[in-house]
């Protein structure tokens, strides 16, 4: 094990996989200099054919990723901030997510899209979105939301070796956070949750940026005598429904912590899956801790106010546990 920063783990995965597979190419805006540090050093190592700055034209870049992938390359497209997914959305929603299907399975599209997401840094509404709910609804793209350096590296390696279009969303503002990363070559399968803490009273499913807050909430709950089970969802598509359902069947309660806006959030989907498939195991209605249906404000106080945090998650979990049993009947 070695201590690595989150962004360094991503950089290591890119470096190692590009070394391993000469068909991997990476392009995007400012990837040579690397704003976030995740593509740092790649240009010097692999040159301009494989690492290339592009004009600012997301609508074309997403389409080019499709064309290059359909022509034999394994494409990594860096979109910088996740809000720029919207400017490139046609080729994402209409081509990338559908072309394999529409051609009757003739093409594989090994495309990895990197983008940072989430608020908390006064970047305002056009640089702070958490857009994965829209991506989850497309059907044809995978969505990966690693929270720790080790998961980031192992999941990215899996994605880079697989043949499906995948959004690898980097938790905004978490790049400098460190964690233990195995030194050997390893991959982590998509569609498997990680149980970070076992507990009896309530299941907290946390997504990406929310994992750290949920872990703090679980610690806080322990002090109050509430034993929370903490699940890092790790990938939203494919979603490990079995892993989530098994936990909820044990605890009987579910809180989902999600930085997306509430309406049609990933939390809404997970809550619906649990309500449908584990209804009789539930001792209380599932709770979502999300961002209200507003744009992310710039002013620090106003922004903090709308973001989920450990206190909001702990409060939601405690409220569920303290509901009188049998309240549902």
């Amino acid at each position: 094990m070695a201590k690595k920063r989150y962004i360094q783990a991503i950089n290591d995965a890119l470096m190692e996989e590009m070394e391993r597979d000469p068909k991997i190419i990476l392009f995007g805006e400012d990837v040579e200099i690397s704003m976030f540090g995740d593509t740092q050093g790649l240009h010097a190592r692999f040159g301009a054919d494989r690492i290339r700055n592009t004009p600012i034209c997301e609508a074309t870049l997403t389409g080019m990723a499709v064309g290059a992938a359909a022509s034999g390359y394994r494409v990594v497209l860096h979109l910088m901030f996740s809000n720029f997914i919207y400017t490139g959305f046609d080729a994402i929603a209409n081509q990338m997510a559908k072309l394999r299907f529409m051609t009757g399975g003739q093409v594989c599209l090994p495309i990895t899209i990197l983008a940072g997401y989430g608020g908390g840094r006064s970047a305002a509404a056009q640089h702070s979105d958490t857009p994965y709910p829209a991506l989850m609804n497309l059907g044809g793209v995978n969505v990966v939301v690693p929270a720790s350096p080790a998961d980031a590296k192992g999941l990215l390696k899996t994605v880079l070796r697989a043949d499906n279009p995948t959004f690898f969303l980097e938790a905004g503002g978490r790049g400098a956070e460190t964690g233990d990363v195995p030194e050997h070559d390893y991959t982590i399968p998509l569609g498997k949750v990680s149980v970070l803490r076992e507990g009896r009273d309530v299941t907290i499913v946390a997504i990406g940026t929310m994992v750290k807050h949920a872990a703090a909430a679980a610690a806080e709950l322990k002090g109050k005598g509430i034993d929370a089970e903490l699940i890092d969802v790790r990938t939203l598509v494919p979603l490990d429904e079995d892993g989530i359902l098994a936990s909820v069947r044990k605890t009987g309660r579910l809180v989902v912590a999600d930085e997306a806006r509430d309406r049609c959030s990933a939390a809404s989907h997970i809550a619906a899956v649990v309500a449908e498939k584990a209804f009789t195991a539930l001792k209380a209605a599932p709770k979502r801790v999300t961002v209200p249906n507003v744009a992310m404000p710039y002013a620090p106080g106003a922004e903090k106010n709308v973001l989920p945090n450990s206190a909001k998650i702990a409060e939601a979990a405690a409220a569920l546990v303290n509901e009188k049993s049998g309240a549902r009947s």
Binding site: A65, V66, G67, A68
Partner: protein, 333 residues
């Protein structure tokens, strides 16, 4: 653009296949039109009738390893690039034997093994896909080229300028073929497009050619120059082919449009410049072919069309379970 290719004389061996290709596209589409109006086809059908010279003239220069992208009016490009009439017809019928196993339909016929990255239901979407494919060709360091067929309507999408920019900047082996058929769906081009489309491309200082899109030899010559330019690694070229859509935007339009958007006199005028008839006349006038040869060609094409239509009609419907299997590679939806 200066090149020897432009001056090459076409021999009979090269001319007859051009006519054959145009005839195949025309007769297949006439059959599709009839089958559509007979209520046999499930979805919308957008026909290429009147524009056949463009697909035939361009694709005559392409190899299987070269790639193309096409439009919602893509049957002609599919056939000209070597796609199977049977597999295309079956696709349009929504059958299991269709080239996309019934999942794409008329607007999305694709055969990746032939370099046909697909017709596309999104106007201008093929431009960026072609640029990506051209980038791949450049990285491969071979002499493969990528061609994007698009209409005058697509020239008004932002990706048109974006792909011209990146293709020029990176010297991509890409050929832009704008088929100006004078209509953006139901809107005459003059009502939605300012200036001349080719002037937008000229701003990038790449080779540009404005050609009579109903003259297959003019298209053939201009494309020869552009393809040679791209194969040599000299970058993209732009061809604007002026042509005319003889059928409607889609076959069903008369059933829902409450008024007309063009004069029948205009259609009649363009019918006089029908590229297929015109090329037949040229070949006969120049005594390259006689009437007997053309009749034999027509008969051969008629057999292919009949065979393809029968094959499509007799094939099994698409497999409904397939939808869960092909969204992803090795991952069930």
């Amino acid at each position: 653009m200066k090149s020897d290719v432009g001056n090459l004389a076409l021999t009979k061996d090269a001319l007859v296949p051009l006519l054959r290709q145009m005839l195949l596209i025309r007769r297949v589409e006439e059959r599709l039109s009839a089958d559509f109006h007979a209520g046999k086809l499930p979805g919308a059908v957008h026909l290429y009738i009147g524009q056949e010279a463009v697909a035939a003239g361009v694709c005559a220069h392409l190899r299987d390893s070269d790639t193309i992208t096409s439009t919602h009016r893509g049957h002609g490009h599919f056939l000209a690039k070597g796609g199977s009439p049977r597999a295309m017809m079956a696709e349009i019928w929504g059958k299991k034997t269709g080239i996309c196993r019934g999942m794409g339909g008329s607007m999305h016929v694709a055969d990746v093994s032939k370099g046909i990255l697909g017709a596309n239901g999104i106007v201008a979407a093929g431009l960026a896909i072609t640029a990506g494919s051209a980038f791949a060709a450049m990285l491969d360091k071979g002499d493969r080229v990528a061609v994007s067929f698009f209409g005058d309507g697509a020239a008004n999408q932002g990706t048109f300028m974006e792909t011209l920019n990146v293709a020029t900047l990176w010297k991509l082996p890409m050929i832009f073929v704008c088929e100006n058929n004078r209509f953006s769906e139901f809107s005459p081009a003059a009502t939605v497009t300012s200036g001349e489309i080719i002037d937008r491309a000229r701003a990038f200082k790449i080779p540009c050619a404005s050609v009579d899109g109903n003259d297959v030899l003019a298209i053939w010559r201009a494309t020869g120059i552009a393809v040679e330019h791209a194969r040599k690694g000299d970058g993209p070229s732009f061809i604007e082919a002026h042509t005319y859509r003889l059928h409607g935007h889609l076959e069903a339009e008369k059933s829902f449009l409450k008024s007309t958007y063009r004069e029948s006199a205009e259609i009649e005028e363009w019918r006089q410049r029908d590229p297929v008839q015109r090329f037949k006349n040229h070949l006969c006038g120049e005594r390259i072919c006689d009437d007997g040869e053309i009749e034999a060609l027509e008969a051969e094409i008629a057999d292919i069309v009949e065979d393809a239509a029968k094959f499509a009609e007799a094939s099994e419907p698409a497999d409904p379970e397939l939808v869960f299997e092909i969204m992803f590679h090795e991952q069930r939806a």
